[in-house]
Amino acid sequence: MTAPVVREPGSTREACALLAADPWGTKVVSGGTALVLMMRQGLVAPQSLVALWRIPGLAGITRAGDVLRIGATTTLAEVAASPLVRSVAPSLAHACSVVGNPRIRNVATLGGNLAEADYASDPPAALASLGARCHATGPDGTREIPVRDLVTGFYETVLDHAELITHVDVPIAGPGRRATYLKYRTRSSEDRPCVGVAARLDADERGRVRELDVVVAAVAPTLHRVPAALDAAAGRAVDDALAGEVARSYAEAVEPLEDARGSAWYRRRMVEVLVRRAVQRFTAPEEVVRSA
């Protein structure tokens, strides 16, 4: 492995051009926590890296009306600690606060986390459950991609090689919104999730389901979601029975993978337990955001 050349473009346009010029030999680097590990393990061997750290305007958290905008190179620690995120999207703040350890979170970025497409990651499920959209720019212009649809397989996304995520927009809801992220680990507290469940409830004035979304991470190559079960929840009271039904649907529908964190058998069981627990959080009067 020869050390790659690091290029530091000053604009996204320049960055995309560098990527387009060498589709096989270049990789984007932001925080580097994922890429450098892969390079060390010999899984990728780029000849040059396109670093995003000199591009102005890619980092930062702002609010414009009912949209929370998070720049791609904002670190997970910044998202987790942001008073704005904690107030309007607490489940996202929590999901970012439980990734790895402080050394990771202080350099890993939200855009990098999404683009890596690691199946066993916390923030993407939380973002997807909130209806977040990432904005990408490339040689052919810019486009919006729902986070839910971003990942297509193991470490694969719909992004073109020369496309960059610039920011993520998270819709901010009014009253009646509840959201949670439940991370379940089977090994150390620094582990990736065995199962991660992000749930969002938009309830009507009587507390009934207007919209429920449940997104499960780490059980399949892509985020696991069962639209039929969510549709069937509409208009229902939020109670243990609903939580149990949704949980069973998710457990039945999942095609679980297996890894060192759990077998397929175990993951299916845990999908049911954890989805149920996540939805049950909405039956309590006060939302408690904490890890499993």
Partner: protein
């Protein structure tokens, strides 16, 4: 004011926190080149040929060395290992595990070496391989070393009383098979070594726990006279057993010899995983008891997985033998302990060495027996405890045992009699305790030297390695008291085999006792020489000279001089005191490994742990809420450091208890990195973690090492707490949530809770 008994802080505490203390990792030598190993992708394969052209074409590459090159060199004996020199610096003829070095690339830069290593083309012929030690022990299994066709890598037996008859006549007989997987030590600093032949001899820097063992091995390899090899180390960034004996030094020394330049090699994290691991073990345990709980017989058969090369397994399996009985008085015992070669990463001692696997077995089974008899587990232990005056299976009449106090302490600390806190719905809580017994490396040798120099300071020459365990301040405190001076007057550098005298190893929890005793003797020797020098100077009988408070004095004449004044007055350059601790008995000096009789240790290590756990009945996840760790510490140098060692044992032990495990697939280690192999983090430390050190009352009591005492008790304490909480017994580590959930299902199927 005496130093011993006070909590003197490490002299470099601040530097440790901010990261400025020197490690071998930081050492650079002028003109050095860099080495990268080419490793076998196959667990067992004949090496047909090695093509190096492409690797040599990489700019900056100086040479590629292969096992065949070493084999053809009449001036090098490429095989090392003590007691069994079975390991070549580079695989010769065949590779015996996936990850074994088969060639080494030396280049101007580490990057060039790393770039060239994958370009070395090795033509392999795959051979059948074996990963499991029990399979490897069966006839017809793949043979790892032709010289040992039964894959035997150590075989020991002890027989005491008539176990067959006693088991036949026991009221109840319990049999269990207990499994501990292999694990990785994960020292923070990787193995790193610099070898340099350019000065005439061989100079080596290495992050090692045993500099003199490395020196001896290299002298043997290169047929250099004793002292021809110099090995230095600095602070070592954690060892836990991984840096005992000899590891990468032979390979780096061969590379440097071929290059004619200093060569540095620093292992990447995955290579650390591929260099040394914990012994996986299977323990078959049969125990016969009377209905009143008296243990009348025990049969133990343990098979340690040695991995592909012996390292210390031929003897370590014997250490296991001496510990397998556990801290109980059992009149009829048969123990068989073997180590078996397999095509896996070579195994070496892992903190709590050879003992954790055994304590998990005997302490788990004891709680099962208690449950079956309807007895309190604590009472069952008290009924059978090994106490002073009782006979151990090796024939030794035991003394200085303190298990009653240890159990009392565990009982208090975990509030044994009180019920656990009520568990939230869907969870269960329980408490468990366990104790363990362990010997220390015997025979063994520690030498120490104390040099009084003209400025009045005393240099302490000792090869004990500072691994972060605090042996440096401990040895300073001990020496200061023996000399009757302040520790501030002592100067100590790092181990350097050219200057610091022989010491077997910094492991086996032996340094405080072994090196401490050598220093006590060196201090006495220094004082004796000072007395003689003063007596000569003043013309008085030596026995009338007093040595105290950094002075020599003769009360009769009123003469009194500070030590440095005596040196000045007599024109003496320095005064040297020497001390040796070298017990002339022990395991390896016994006549018959198949009939172990006699003393095997200078003293017995004693420790225990208690845990309270909460089990999530739906997920199987075990959370340790409270943990208490204790040990018998003899005469204590620093109470704080002893407690910290116990706490360290508790935290370190939680990894192999709950989740640490090396996984092999098709003979290849699949999780050699810290993303796929987890160790406990600060957030995994139980909310309440306490520890205590039982100190000897009198000042003449022995010093005890304390680095591993509570560790072997951690896993069984947690497993027993899980058993108390759920009635579920797990006989295989780690206690993963999935394993627990499956066991809960078998024991009492979890209801499908749908709310």
């Amino acid at each position: 004011m005496p130093e011993v008994g006070s909590d003197r802080r490490m002299h470099d505490a601040e530097e440790r926190v901010v990261g400025t203390v020197p490690f071998v990792l930081d050492v650079r030598v002028d003109g050095m080149a860099h080495a990268k190993a080419v490793r076998s992708p196959f667990p067992h394969a004949r090496i047909r040929s090695v093509r190096t052209d492409d690797a040599l074409a990489v700019p900056g590459v100086l040479l590629v060395l292969t096992g065949a090159d070493l084999d053809a060199d009449p001036e090098v004996n490429p095989y090392y290992g003590s007691p069994r020199p079975d390991q070549p610096a580079l695989a010769i003829g065949k590779a015996r595990y996936a990850g074994e070095p088969v060639a080494v690339v030396v280049a101007e830069t580490a990057a060039a070496a790393a770039a060239a290593a994958p370009l070395v083309e090795v033509d392999y012929e795959e051979l059948p391989h074996v990963v499991d030690a029990n399979e490897a022990a069966r006839p017809g299994a793949p043979v790892v070393h032709d010289a040992w066709p039964d894959n035997g890598c150590g075989s020991w037996r002890v027989r005491h009383g008539d176990p067959d008859a006693a088991l036949a006549s026991a009221d109840r007989v319990y049999t269990g098979v207990y499994h501990s997987p292999s694990a990785s030590h994960v020292p923070m600093e990787p193995m790193v070594c610099i070898a340099d032949w350019t000065g005439g001899g061989l100079e080596v820097w290495s992050a090692t726990q045993a500099p003199h063992a490395v020196r001896e091995a290299l002298e043997k390899m290169f047929a250099v006279p004793p002292g021809g090899v110099r090995v230095r180390t600095l602070n070592v960034g954690g060892g836990y057993g991984a840096k005992t004996q000899v590891k990468i030094e032979p390979l780096v020394a061969c590379a440097a010899r071929a290059a004619g330049r200093p060569v540095r090699m620093e292992l990447a994290r995955d290579e650390v995983f591929l260099t040394a691991a914990k012994h996986a073990a299977t323990v078959e345990l049969t125990t016969g008891v009377r209905d009143d709980g008296t243990i009348v017989a025990r049969r133990v058969k343990v098979n340690y997985n040695a991995g592909a090369y012996a390292l210390s397994s031929p003897i370590a399996s014997g250490q296991g033998l001496t510990r397998a009985n556990g801290p109980y008085t059992i009149p009829n015992v048969a123990i068989e302990s073997v180590a078996t070669y397999t095509n896996t990463v070579p195994s070496c001692p892992f903190r709590g060495a050879m003992t954790s696997q055994l304590a998990f077995a005997y302490e788990s089974q004891l709680d099962d027996i208690a449950a079956d008899l309807g007895m309190d587990p604590l009472e069952l232990r008290r009924k059978n405890l090994l106490r002073d005056g009782e006979v151990y299976p090796t024939g030794e009449v035991m003394h200085d045992l303190h298990y009653d106090e240890l159990l009392d302490d565990l009982e208090r600390a975990i509030d044994w009699g009180g019920p656990p806190e009520p568990a939230p719905p869907g969870k269960a809580r329980g408490k468990g305790i366990a104790i363990m017994l362990k010997n220390t490396l015997t025979p063994t040798r520690s030498e120490a030297r104390l040099r009084l120099v003209p400025d009045g300071r005393v240099h302490l020459d000792s090869s004990t390695v500072e691994l972060g365990q605090g042996s440096h301040p401990t040895l300073l405190q001990l020496t200061a008291d023996h000399l009757g001076i302040s520790a501030d007057r002592l100067v100590r550098g790092f181990p350097d085999t050219a200057h610091t005298p022989y010491d077997t190893t910094t492991s086996s929890s032996r340094s405080t006792h072994a090196m401490g005793t050598a220093l006590e003797r060196a201090a006495a020797d220094l004082k004796r020489r000072l007395r003689a020098l003063a007596a000569d100077h003043w013309g008085v009988p030596a026995e009338e000279v007093e040595v105290a408070d950094g002075h020599v004095a003769h009360p009769g004449t009123g003469e009194r001089l500070p030590w440095e004044g005596l040196l000045a007055a007599t024109g003496t350059g320095e005064v040297v005191g020497e001390g040796v601790f070298a017990p002339d008995f022990g395991l390896t000096l016994l006549e018959d490994p198949h009939d172990v009789r006699g003393r095997v240790t200078v003293h017995w290590h004693q420790g225990g742990a208690a845990a309270e756990v909460e089990v999530d009945l739906e997920t199987g996840r075990v959370e340790v809420l409270r943990m208490h760790a204790n040990c018998y510490a003899g005469r204590v140098v620093s109470p704080l450091r002893v407690r910290q060692q116990n706490q360290g044992c508790a935290v370190f032990g939680l990894g192999p208890t709950l989740f640490e495990e090396l996984h092999y697939q098709d003979g290849t280690l699949t999780n050699p990195n810290l993303s796929d192999y987890m160790i406990p983090s600060i957030l995994d430390v139980p909310a309440v973690i306490t520890s205590s050190a039982l100190e000897a009352g009198d000042e003449s009591a022995e010093l005890h090492g304390v680095g591993e005492m509570a560790l072997p008790a951690v896993a069984p304490a947690v497993a027993n707490a899980l058993f108390a909480a759920t009635g579920t017994r797990i006989d295989r580590l780690p206690l993963t949530p999935e394993r627990v959930l499956r066991a809960l299902g078998e024991h009492d199927p979890v209801k499908e809770e749908t709310g």
